[in-house]
Amino acid sequence: MIRFENVTKRFGAKTVLDDVSYEIEKGETFVIVGRSGAGKSVSLRHMIRLLTPDAGRIWVDGECISEAGGAELERILGRFGVLFQSAALLQWLNVEDNVCLPLRQKTNLPEDEIRARAAEKLALVGLEGAEQKMPADISGGMRKRVGLARAIVTRPEIILYDEPTSGLDPVISRQIDLLIDDLRRHLGVTSVVVTHDLYSALHIGTRVAMLHEGKFVVCAPPEEFIASRHPVVRDFLQAQGIAGLQDVRKAFGK
């Protein structure tokens, strides 16, 4: 579905992605973990053309998004829903209008249909009743959930999440994790998730990838990821007190 082909990206002297190649399959939840500043957000931004590689190409379903332009680019981007790390809500629109925005601007649906869809997504992220609040008046976690509702309101095939659960309380975090998992199970959505939370990574991911010094040092299904002997992975697992998958299952109450 999304394929990185020998992608290299530098900012000045710093190489953030170093000849990276991998493919994310359709219907997969691909989780990227890594230290702060490892280049996780940079990877995501390449998939939606906010950055272009210095070398290499990025393919979305056989179309090269890193070189597309005009109508083709718009069509490819239309398949994506994106939750930004900072939620990126428009400050002068209330919660409901923010979620309605992509439908109002890019479709000709009737107004009541638009509002019904927005209400449905807001309920999914647990925000019914907050429709009229302004982004400045709600907590960071709520903003993030509004951003999530906006990302899924257009029913995209591919959803990118940049730290969907950071800044959320543990209960809501688990709720969001379950939502991401539901979208994959029931709607076959392909997801790419960037997170620091290994519990959630190992729970929702069909594959987990560790980004370190410009490379994916490990990229494997959760069982294999946990068993990895790579020192960076071990440090990460240890820091969050995960010895095996049973710890993750316990955290999700299974």
Binding site: L50, T52, F80, F84, Q91, Q105
Partner: protein
């Protein structure tokens, strides 16, 4: 897409390289800003579409109505200062009854659009730059780009329309208040009756004076919105960058208003 890759340069080896780079970047920026203006202008047919009309209305209101207060004070006092300064001088030659013409012609041709331009650049222009800049550094512009909601259509076009429409209208208002301010000073300080003042004022002013002034005002509107949106959309580095975008917007629009104003005058009065 409006979102641009960050440009990272090696530090320039010497002062010539640094000057050269500055010139190249300035030319690049001018070109990009003009392209933005054209891009937004190409969206004006969507003015009344269901997707944009609310924003257009809101911007018309913000630019036109919200600025009235400060524009009024500036206009009134511009006319008063003109009348007082020139009137006192003219009185020495016994010519103070021509003060009406002087105030009227200089308001219409020059001071009306000029003062309106400065006030709007400092208030509306800086506000646009700050808002667009904040949106850029908070990734809101990037989010719009990814949703394929063109910032040129959704954000810049309504502001372009608002300034292109409101600058000439506000200028008419400034002209009227300025001439009126001159009349007050004439009546209270120079002993010229209102009747004589207005009679004198409109006898020598031509329609051309009004039109050239309004044309200037229209151009100033385009300048302000283009500079402000360009600076906003290219802001980087968080709050500092937003401050820089705002400051540059005010400075660059002031300079362009002065220079363009001069050349338009030269074009029509030679």
């Amino acid at each position: 897409m409006i979102t641009r890759e960050p440009q990272i340069f090696d530090p320039p080896p010497n002062v010539f390289a640094s000057a050269g780079r500055g010139i190249i970047l300035a030319c690049q920026g001018t070109g990009q800003a003009l392209l933005m203006l054209l891009g937004a202008a190409a969206q004006t047919p969507h003015l009344f579409s269901r997707k944009n009309r609310d924003d257009v209305m809101r911007q018309l209101y913000l630019v036109g109505i919200k600025s009235l207060g400060v524009v009024s004070v500036v206009a009134l006092f511009t006319g008063m200062i003109l009348a007082l300064q020139v009137g006192l001088e003219l009185r020495r030659y016994g010519q103070e009854n021509n003060i009406g013409t002087l105030v009227c012609v200089s308001m219409l041709r020059e001071m009306g659009p000029f003062m309106t331009g400065l006030v709007i650049a400092a208030s509306v222009g800086s506000a646009i730059a700050a808002q667009m800049g904040t949106m850029t550094v908070a990734e809101e512009i990037a989010a719009l780009d990814v949703m394929s909601i063109s910032p040129l259509r959704y954000l810049m076009m309504p502001r372009l329309v608002a300034l292109a429409v409101m600058m000439p209208l506000l200028t008419v208002y400034t002209n009227l208040l300025g001439i009126f301010g001159g009349a007050i000073v004439g009546a209270t300080q120079l002993g010229i009756s209102l009747e004589a003042y207005f009679d004198n004022a409109f006898r020598y002013a031509e329609n051309k004076d009004l039109y050239v002034g309004l044309f200037k005002a229209f151009l100033f509107g385009l300048i302000i919105v283009t500079v402000a949106c360009y600076q906003g959309f290219t802001a980087t580095e968080g709050a500092v960058g937003v401050g820089r975008a705002t400051r540059r917007t005010v400075i660059v629009s002031f300079l362009l208003i002065l220079v363009v104003g001069y050349f338009v005058t030269r074009m029509f009065y030679q």
